[in-house]
């Protein structure tokens, strides 16, 4: 997962050229509990970094997903319609949510690397 970077709101983005695959982190899926439904964005939607692009519903809460990068949605993970639990099972792999054609490549520099994210999580645990 070398190209995988993380946001403070616990989303991850994996970059390949100008396409980013976006999902939520393992920490996020644990916090959410059993996921029952994912509201996917539509192909063609455009988002600015930080905008709400999706939401994830578990038995106890609904959480907004904020896109860590700006861009246009090119693909959504339709498997999540019937199997929302994929996010619980494999948040960084099969649980990907959508793909973006990014418009501002510089934004990726503001995200955390895997190690930086792990440090960040430790900080949260201590609060």
């Amino acid at each position: 997962m070398a190209n995988c970077k993380f946001s403070k709101e616990h989303e991850w983005a994996k970059l390949e050229g100008d396409t980013a695959t976006i999902g939520v982190s393992d920490y996020a899926q644990k916090e959410l509990g059993d996921i029952v439904y994912v509201e996917l964005p539509q192909v063609g939607d455009s988002f600015e970094k930080g905008e709400t692009c999706s939401n994830i519903e578990s038995v106890k809460a609904v959480n907004d997903v904020y896109t860590p990068l700006s861009g246009e949605v090119t693909q959504v993970n339709e498997d999540l319609e019937d199997q929302p639990e994929l996010i619980n099972q494999d948040a960084l792999g099969k649980g990907w949510i959508f793909k973006l054609k990014i418009t501002k490549p510089g934004e990726a520099d503001d995200l955390m690397t895997r190690d930086e994210y792990d440090e960040y999580l430790k900080g949260i645990a201590e609060e």
Binding site: D34, V36, Y37, E57, V59, P84, E85
Partner: protein, 481 residues
């Protein structure tokens, strides 16, 4: 022991019928509706005899826990005993008029509404009431809209409603629907709103503060008068969520604490039954300056008696059909008249005594999140316990007791909110303490039985994840796969 009835549709048999009705017309005249608009049949609609209907619903009813059956200490719900006399009087045919009956023919009904508002004014100090809202949340929505209209009339509706982090979920939801953004104020180490924190958050964009008093931790917001002064100096208003009025009914009037708008829950403090989820009634009381914004219609008194006025230009409008949940108002009035001035204080005094008795006995086995005094309810945390709040709650069901409110307020980890009310005997409270002691002891020796509870209820622990993942929201003869 308990037999879960099959569904009505599974018991239904063609040709069975439960009703009996004689047609008023001698023949079967043709319809004045075009043939293709007329329904031929309602396939699969139930067909049962009266005795089967009676057994079906009777057997369903015994699957419910209820206040009539046992202890129901749900915090912030005030599950007090529902007097049967209230039901009898509310059921009188003499008051069941059509809502559009001309006012001169229903002066009795209007007198009762007027008397109720008189009681509410005397108990809260707010001079004007509307009985329209159907529930507390409905009242909150109305109250915030009235605040907005008031501020608009002074040139600026502002944009923000402040509320503590312990607020009930309806507070932010209602404020949102009234067009405001919410800003949360953190509670201090005493569990209440800190006056300095409030002042830091006051600015020209703040329309009001929504406060529950006592708050959802059961703690009296003792800075309330200073808070109201600070708000008023800022041109803002104070909204009080009156869900917890059982703590000081007849002892303190919210108007004396600077409250501008208040909602009451007749189905909490005023003993009307919860009915498994309503109907309730959430009257709103306002200070003089907000009177012109009250919703339509307004009950008025004139030389010919009582009537309804559609309300002036400044009214926020209408939020409910007709006049409100009338029957619920009647039940509350019966209750108040049965208490009278002699007994009205007994409600809060016994409610607070009961809650503090539980607090004194339970703090030996459970931890308090805040050391502050509490009134009619007390919140404990599951920190340090061998089992979670959820597990304790489910095991309590095996003792024929409804659990406390779980996981609310959000600021307490594993919150257990306990409100006994004044209509519980000491014996019941002692049984509750003993049940909790037994459960915690059991948790040390045999945690599995608690983690897999409940065991003695008609169904065991239900899978809520499955219900949400694969929603089945009705019966179908041939469900689509």
């Amino acid at each position: 022991m308990f037999k879960i009835p099959r569904l009505l549709f599974e018991k239904s048999r063609p040709g069975k019928t439960g009703y009996s009705f004689a047609s008023p017309l001698p023949d079967d005249p043709p319809l004045l509706i075009e043939g293709d608009r007329v329904r031929q049949d309602i396939p699969d609609f139930p067909e049962l005899s009266e005795v089967e209907i009676v057994r079906h619903y009777t057997n369903l009813s015994i699957l419910n826990h209820s206040v009539d059956r046992g202890f129901y200490p749900l915090g912030s719900c005030t599950m007090k005993y529902n007097p049967k006399l209230n039901e009898k009087i509310a059921g009188m045919a003499e008051l069941s008029a059509h809502p559009y009956t001309p006012a001169d023919l229903v002066q009795g009904n209007l007198t009762l509404m007027h008397q109720l508002t008189g009681w509410l004014t005397a108990l809260t100090g707010l001079p004007h009431y509307t009985l329209s809202p159907a529930a507390g949340a409905h009242g909150e929505f109305l109250g915030i809209m009235m605040i907005r209209k008031y501020l608009e009339s002074r040139g600026d509706p502002r944009q923000i409603i402040l509320m503590p982090d312990s607020a009930h979920g309806t507070n932010p939801a209602s404020a949102h629907f009234a067009g405001y953004r919410i800003k949360e104020i953190p509670s201090n180490a005493d569990g209440i709103i800190d006056i300095n924190t409030l002042k830091q958050n006051l600015g020209p964009e703040v329309a009001a503060l929504m406060v529950t008093n006592p708050n959802t931790l059961g703690i009296f917001e003792k800075h309330v008068r200073e808070i109201s002064r600070a708000l008023h100096e800022n041109g803002s208003l104070l909204y009080m969520d009156g869900a917890n009025m059982n703590a000081f009914l007849g002892i303190l009037r919210p108007a004396d604490c600077g409250v501008d708008v208040l909602h009451l829950n007749l189905h909490k403090t005023f003993s009307t039954p919860h009915g498994g989820g309503g109907p309730g009634s959430g009257p709103i009381g306002v200070s003089e300056k907000l009177a012109e914004f009250l919703p339509q219609p307004r009950l008025i008194s004139g030389p010919e008696g009582f009537g309804f006025d559609p309300g002036g230009d400044q009214s926020v409008g209408r939020i409910k059909n007709f006049y409100g949940n009338y029957l619920v108002m009647v039940k509350a009035l019966v209750y108040l008249k049965s208490l009278g001035r002699e007994n009205i204080r007994q409600v809060a005094e016994d409610a607070v005594l009961n809650a503090n008795y539980l607090r004194a006995r339970l703090k030996e086995i459970l931890r308090l999140p805040y050391p502050s005094k509490t009134l009619h309810e007390v919140v404990f945390t599951d920190k340090g316990l061998p089992v979670s709040t959820l597990h304790i709650a489910k095991r309590l069901l095996d003792y024929n007791m409804h659990p406390f409110t779980m996981y609310f307020p959000l600021i307490v980890q594993g919150a257990m909110m306990i409100e006994p009310t004044e209509t519980e005997s000491r014996e019941t409270l002692d049984e509750f303490v003993e049940a909790l002691q037994a459960i915690l002891t059991e948790a040390g020796k045999n945690p599995e039985i608690i983690e897999t509870a409940p065991h003695r209820t008609p169904v065991k622990k239900l899978d809520e994840t499955l219900a949400a993942r694969q929603p089945v929201l009705k019966w179908q003869r041939n469900p689509e796969s």
